[in-house]
């Protein structure tokens, strides 16, 4: 009798234990997402900032109760961040590795050259059985070269449209500087983003009525710019537009100061509205106008900047996009009823893709962000200028 009772008690205990474990598992279920970007090499700062922004946003989400999963249980979002070294082959390898895990989506990459190659290995059209491309959703936060998401229906981006930004900027220039007639360009020829954006700047400048007098070219790791700036000086333009990253932007600005090249207006590349430019050549950059999709001008943006700093990063137009993506993913996970279980990974990935593709609008740090049919973002932006070694808001086109 005693033996029978003990057996019953043990069985009841075991069942209770299993139920409790199952409940605990449900309570602690984690939806896995991956991030990837350059965390080594000279553009390491992009990866550091993106990872910090994702972690900051996910902390907010998880501390606020996490996400509601498809079966009604609550789950946390867990992030693992990978280094692609800003190298296309490495980026592809990293994503293949991520795709073999339980991650339901990846956020990245930080470099356009990686995104361009990487999106090429994804399945082009969803449901195309003849296409053996990778069926894994990716949403880019930093890679800024225009139009990359149209490469695959599994690719999405939350990066600003530089086309719209520079179009708006030159329209504003025409109203604020009616006397400027000519422009001279400078471009870092061997960097995909700088080169592509220069094409946008040139087109928009000419469309706004400015006459392009010429262009100086240099490479990412060049150290002297005297020849290019001398040609610029000889052209005597009203506006100088530099499409380059901070290292060479600073080199050119310093050379312009030496050769006393003083245009009426200086315009810079979106990525240069960063602390790097101010650290490298704050004095020479004084007055440079740059369109950007981030500045701490709203309570949400200010809070995001503080949180990202807490995780060792800096909030800028790129990392702010990563921060926004975390909240976009939370909404998609909930609206698409993602399960977050090991046996639903493939289905969850399809749900994430479908959910992202269905979005017409998302919440951004500066306001509402529109989504286009080719999976790109239409983000609000503003113009900043370097003043007294800080970036100050010069104009908000939307306001």
């Amino acid at each position: 009798m005693i033996k029978k009772s003990l057996t019953l008690v043990a069985a009841a205990g075991a069942i209770a234990g299993m139920v409790a474990a199952s409940a605990a598992e449900a309570q602690e279920r984690a939806v896995k997402i991956a991030g990837f970007g350059a965390k080594s090499g000279v553009v390491r700062v992009f990866g550091i900032n993106s990872e910090a922004a994702l972690k900051a946003a996910l902390e907010q989400i998880n501390n606020g109760g996490g996400v509601t999963l498809g079966d009604g249980t609550k789950g946390k979002i867990a992030l693992e961040y990978y280094d692609d070294r800003c190298n296309a082959e490495e980026g592809i390898s990293v994503v293949r590795r991520i795709a073999s895990t339980e991650a339901i989506i990846a956020v990245g990459p930080t470099c356009s050259n990686v995104a361009e190659s990487l999106f090429g290995i994804l399945q082009k059209k969803v449901g195309d059985s003849s296409d053996s491309g990778l069926q894994f959703p990716i949403i880019a936060d930093v890679a800024a070269k225009g139009g990359l998401a149209k490469i695959s229906e599994w690719a999405f981006r939350n990066v600003p449209s530089e086309f719209e930004m520079y179009k708006s900027l030159f329209a504003w220039v025409k109203t604020q500087y009616p006397d400027v007639k000519t422009i001279y360009g400078g471009v870092e020829k061997d960097f995909a983003h700088s080169n592509a954006t220069f094409g946008v700047i040139k087109t928009q400048a000419e469309a706004s009525g400015l006459q392009l007098l010429g262009q100086g070219e240099w490479l990412l790791n060049d150290t002297t710019f005297s020849t290019q700036v001398r040609e610029m000086k000889r052209a005597n333009p009203d506006v100088v537009a530099i499409s380059a990253h901070p290292f060479t932007t600073c080199g050119v600005l310093k050379e312009m100061q030496r050769q006393s090249v003083k245009p009426k207006l200086l315009i810079g590349l979106t990525s240069s509205s960063s602390i790097e430019t101010l650290q490298g050549c704050g004095v020479q950059a004084e007055g440079i106008v740059i369109p950007t999709s981030f500045a701490p001008v709203t309570p949400e943006a200010t809070k995001a900047a503080e949180l990202v700093a807490k995780f060792g990063g800096s909030a800028d137009l790129h990392s702010a996009a990563a921060y926004e993506i975390a909240f976009i993913l939370k909404n998609v996970i909930e609206s698409q009823k993602v399960m977050g279980k090991p046996d639903t990974v493939a289905a969850d990935r399809e749900k994430m893709r479908a959910g992202l593709a269905a979005l017409k609008e998302t919440d951004g740090l500066l306001g509402k962000v529109g989504r286009t049919a080719d999976r790109e973002a239409i983000k609000p932006f503003l113009f900043v200028h370097a003043k007294d070694n800080t970036w100050k808001v010069l104009h908000r086109p939307a306001s």
């Binding site: 390491r44 990412l220 005297s226």
Partner: protein, 296 residues
């Protein structure tokens, strides 16, 4: 070609020659190590930039004049140079030339990655001397900081030549370079001379790194690889082991680089510099200061 084009051409060449002094210093470092040990130290340019970075540590603690920072860069270069000797050469079998080559490639990547991790890859401002001085000579303008850099480079080269040709250490170094076995039989410690060679070239490299940082105004890990390439080109054109050759070749490469850029644009510039290198390898493989018959 108009008058302005002629002026611009000459100005470009002058700027290139002045900046070429840094290439000369880097070339000297490569060539001296090769002359003494018959080995290539591929981490030399990265170590030079690393030394310039190291000198900034002092600036983060106390405010110091730029010239003091330059000297500190030299000191840091000497220390890093010795460390590279110990790690990449001292205990690695010398019989296999590839072993030390690969170990210095490893050191290059290691130094680069240390810099990237310490600075998050962000360019760091470097103090300059005479950066606001511009000398106007007729239609030409010469940068004060580049002229200072050129003068400092020439002084460093002169001191190095005095060291090599007017001191016992220099005699011992040249003896090891020319006849290592005979030098050893005469009581010269080869490991000591090798180590000192790395310290001396490290000091020169540190100064070169500081001069490059001062000329550009910022230091970036982006500099290591292109400077390694330039240093090697200078060494080959100047003649492996020839210090006067490295000096002349550095200035020559600096001048030609700007000339090619002026006429053919930045995207073709390096192509012509490489063609210049191949031209030397084919027609004058021993470099500038070797007899033309040196081939084979």
């Amino acid at each position: 070609m108009s008058y302005l084009d002629v002026i611009d051409t000459l100005q470009s060449v002058a700027d290139g020659v002045l900046f070429g002094a840094t290439y000369s210093l880097l070339g000297i470092g490569f060539t001296l190590v090769f002359g003494v040990m018959h080995k290539i130290n591929l981490s030399y340019a990265a170590a030079s930039i690393g030394a310039a970075y190291a000198s900034l540590i002092v600036l983060s603690v106390v405010k110091a004049p730029a010239i003091f920072i330059f000297l500190l860069a030299g000191l840091a270069g000497g220390i890093i140079g010795f460390m590279i000797y110990v790690v990449c050469f001292r205990f690695i079998p010398q019989a296999n030339p590839l072993a030390t080559l690969m170990s210095t490639v490893g050191a290059l990547l290691l130094i680069d990655e240390i810099i990237v991790h310490a600075t998050v890859g962000i360019p760091v401002p470097y103090p300059a001397l005479f950066s606001d001085v511009i000398v106007n000579a007729g239609p030409f303008t010469l940068r004060g900081d580049l002229m200072f850099m050129f003068a400092l480079g020439c002084l460093s080269m002169l001191l190095l030549l005095v060291l090599l040709y007017r001191t016992k250490l220099g005699i011992a170094t040249r003896a090891v370079a020319q006849q290592p076995v005979a030098a050893q039989l005469c009581g010269i410690s080869i490991p000591r001379i090798n180590g000192l060679t790395f310290v001396i070239t490290g000091v020169v490299g540190g100064i070169a790194g500081a001069m490059i940082g001062a000329a550009i105004g910022v230091l970036s890990p982006l500099l290591s690889l292109p400077l390694t390439t330039k240093g090697l080109i200078v060494t080959v054109i100047g003649g492996l082991g020839s210090i006067p050759g490295a000096i002349i070749a550095g200035l020559l490469v600096g001048g030609f680089e700007n000339l090619f850029q002026y006429f053919r644009g930045v995207t073709e510039r390096d192509l012509y510099v490489m063609l210049l290198l191949f031209g030397f390898l084919v027609f004058r493989p021993g470099g500038i200061f070797s007899p033309a018959a040196g081939r084979d």
